[in-house]
């Protein structure tokens, strides 16, 4: 039937609209057009170059043993150990920073978006956040050092041999890092709250729920993916920072406990992260283990790329996610994601 008809009917050639050609544009637009192309291509080349170069170096120098060995002071690369301490340090600082920034950031965003009373305070908080977002992290770091070397905050950090409070520790570094991550978490939470339709709020008010209950039980759960992506962005910011680590964590070779006790001592002790490890071992630093620096930088890059992929997934996959139930779908998603 369909074939009979198609045999009889002659399909006319598909006609395409004529595209406006760049050649007819004024010279200045044509130049701009070409420049856009060139910069676009250049950007791709740079991004590709970073990944490729770090991949080559990383694969060449990365040894699995480096993940479990502590660094050791040596002028020979073969004896300088691995970077297990910096990896642990990165995890610890990130965990502390996020543990503080996530609840505070979400609460601030909820207050700004749902209450913002009194208005002057809301405006002040907004400008404060903007300012923090724009401050170079080294300024935050030196300010943090100033605050935490106050005597009454000495219980948070390591003491020098002569008893003065250094202000340096995982706890204090984590606290300052949380300030770095805060604006990102607030921004993404606020934006998501602003996009929620008012009828969601009204539905809850109409049941006799207060603003606070509505925010806590309806609005925030509804924007969980956005909060998560803000948190992941904040993690990326913390993981990538060097200045705060150098100034407040000490960027020591190994993680050093403040008083020998296992957990609390470690939290109050100094240490390093991948960024400071790369910096110190790079040709620009004082170490002499360039290969280790490349390997660590590769690990750092992989962590950050993985976080970026996670953000993309969290923000784009909101619709798809509800369908992603069950192990089968999850495995499929994981396979698709690693490819």
């Amino acid at each position: 039937m369909a074939s009979e008809r198609s045999a009889a009917a002659v399909i006319p050639p598909i006609s395409h609209p004529r595209r406006s050609s760049v050649g007819s544009w004024p010279l200045i637009d044509r130049t701009g057009f070409v420049l856009c192309w060139l910069t676009g291509i250049g950007l791709c080349l740079i991004a590709g170059g970073i990944v490729l170069y770090m991949l080559l170096k990383g694969v060449a120098y990365l040894r699995l043993s480096e993940f479990v060995q502590s660094p050791s002071p040596s002028l020979h690369q073969t004896q300088s150990g691995g970077f297990s301490d910096p990896i642990l340090g990165t995890l610890l600082v990130t965990a502390i920073g996020i543990a503080i920034a996530a609840p505070v950031g979400v609460a601030l965003a909820a207050w700004l978006s749902e209450y913002s009373r009194p208005a002057w305070l809301a405006r002040a908080v907004e400008s404060g956040l903007e300012m923090i977002a724009g401050v170079p992290s080294v300024v935050l770091a030196i300010f943090g050092l100033l605050v935490f070397s106050e005597g009454f905050l000495g219980f948070l950090s390591t003491k020098a041999f002569n008893g003065t409070v250094t202000g340096q520790s995982f706890v204090t570094a984590g606290v300052v890092m949380s300030v770095l991550a805060l604006p990102l978490i607030v921004a993404s939470t606020r934006e998501a709250l602003a996009q929620l339709p008012d009828r969601l709020r009204e539905a809850s008010y109409a049941l006799g729920k207060t603003r606070a209950t509505t925010t806590r039980r309806v609005l925030l759960p509804a924007i969980r993916p956005s909060i998560a992506s803000g948190v992941v962005l904040g993690m990326g910011r913390i993981i990538g920072d060097t200045a705060i680590i150098t100034l407040i964590l000490g960027a020591t070779l190994k993680n050093e406990s403040a008083d020998g006790t296992p957990l609390l001592g470690a939290l109050r002790g100094t240490g390093s992260t991948l960024t400071s490890y790369v910096f110190n071992n790079s040709p620009a630093g004082e170490g002499n283990s360039h290969e280790k620096a490349y390997a660590a930088a590769f690990v750092l890059l992989m962590i950050v790329l993985a976080l970026n992929a996670l953000v993309t997934r969290l923000t784009n996959g909101r619709r798809a996610r509800s369908a992603d139930r069950g192990w089968r779908a999850r495995t499929r998603a994981l396979v698709a994601w690693t490819r």
């Binding site: 709020r201 539905a203 109409a206 049941l207 006799g208 039980r217 309806v218 509800s322």
Partner: protein, 298 residues
């Protein structure tokens, strides 16, 4: 405030159509009039009184001097063209207009004799619940949508736990009253957003009923629904009127005729006519009502 307009007396005598010259008969009443034969409500009791209410957004008075009774045991329908202030009037009954900046009210609205402005607002809204034009379930499971109305409410001791035997019973009961239980009982943990529009709206009704309100406000609850879901909801409304005072805004005249015991016709913010549904549809006293119910405008 603008000059007060004509006040409409309540509880008027049944309207008796004056003898008319042949040919000038009023248009036929609401077309396709099939009203389920239903038992008259056993007990009719006044719950809310709207007395000389004016409502404004900023400088713009959109409801002018409206007086109406809201009674338990019967359904009150608000009809009228778009923009005549029906939604605004409805929202003022549980003070939801206060959410809108610049909204103001004058006149008196009382619930069981108490001015609603004197009541604690969230307590009022638990007693006077509302269902909106667009189904607006929360993005959570079906169970949680209904349980949300119950947990943390003072009536249930302010408890936070979302899984208690009493709570589960109350949720199932609310779903049953809204005529949704049989369709969703197999999986109450399913996301409410994956229900059909009609099911979502019945879920919203279940949610509104869960906290056992005394007055239920429905703002064009069927405007986004198919005829079958509409019929289900209409049946539900008629059943509910025994225990809950119901005010329904509707665009659909047949629907108003099918479900309502009393009808109020609003036009441009004014209450033009109020009376029993038979009277308003069959023997409207005002020319504007006659035009509207015969489909001349709106």
């Amino acid at each position: 405030m603008p000059p007060p307009v004509r006040r409409i007396t309540l509880e008027r005598e049944p309207y008796v159509a004056p003898p008319r010259a042949a040919g000038a008969t009023a248009q036929a009443p609401a077309n396709g009039r099939l009203r389920a034969v239903r038992a008259p409500s056993t007990q009719v009791r006044q719950r809310m009184a709207i007395e000389g209410v004016w409502l404004a957004y900023g400088e713009n008075w959109v409801v002018r001097d409206v007086s109406l009774p809201v009674r338990q045991g019967e359904v009150l329908a608000l009809i009228g063209a778009s923009g005549s202030g029906k939604t605004t009037l409805l929202r003022s009954l549980n003070r939801l207009t206060e959410v809108t900046a610049g909204a103001a009210r004058s006149g008196r609205v009382s619930l069981d004799g108490e001015e609603i402005h004197e009541l604690e607002v969230n307590a009022l809204r638990r007693r006077v619940s509302m269902v909106f034009q667009q189904p607006n379930p929360f993005p959570m499971s079906i169970y949680d949508n209904v349980a949300y109305a119950l947990v943390e409410s003072p009536r249930h001791g302010g408890r936070r736990r979302r899984r208690t035997p009493e709570l589960e019973l109350a949720v199932a009961d609310a779903l049953r009253r809204a005529g949704l239980y049989d369709e969703v009982a197999s999986d109450l943990e399913r996301s409410a957003l994956r229900l059909s529009g009609g099911q979502q709206q019945r879920l919203c009704i279940a949610r509104a009923l869960a906290a056992e309100p005394e007055v239920l406000l429905l703002d064009e609850p069927c405007s986004a629904l198919d005829p079958i879901s509409t019929a289900t909801i209409e049946k539900l409304i008629v059943e509910l009127r025994e225990t809950v005072a119901i005010v329904i805004v509707t665009h659909n005249l047949q629907q108003a005729f099918r479900v309502a015991d009393h009808v109020a016709f609003m036009h441009l913010g004014e209450l033009v006519e109020y009376g029993s549904s038979e009277q308003v549809f069959d023997r409207p006293s005002q020319q504007r009502t006659r035009d509207y119910v015969s489909g001349a405008f709106g």
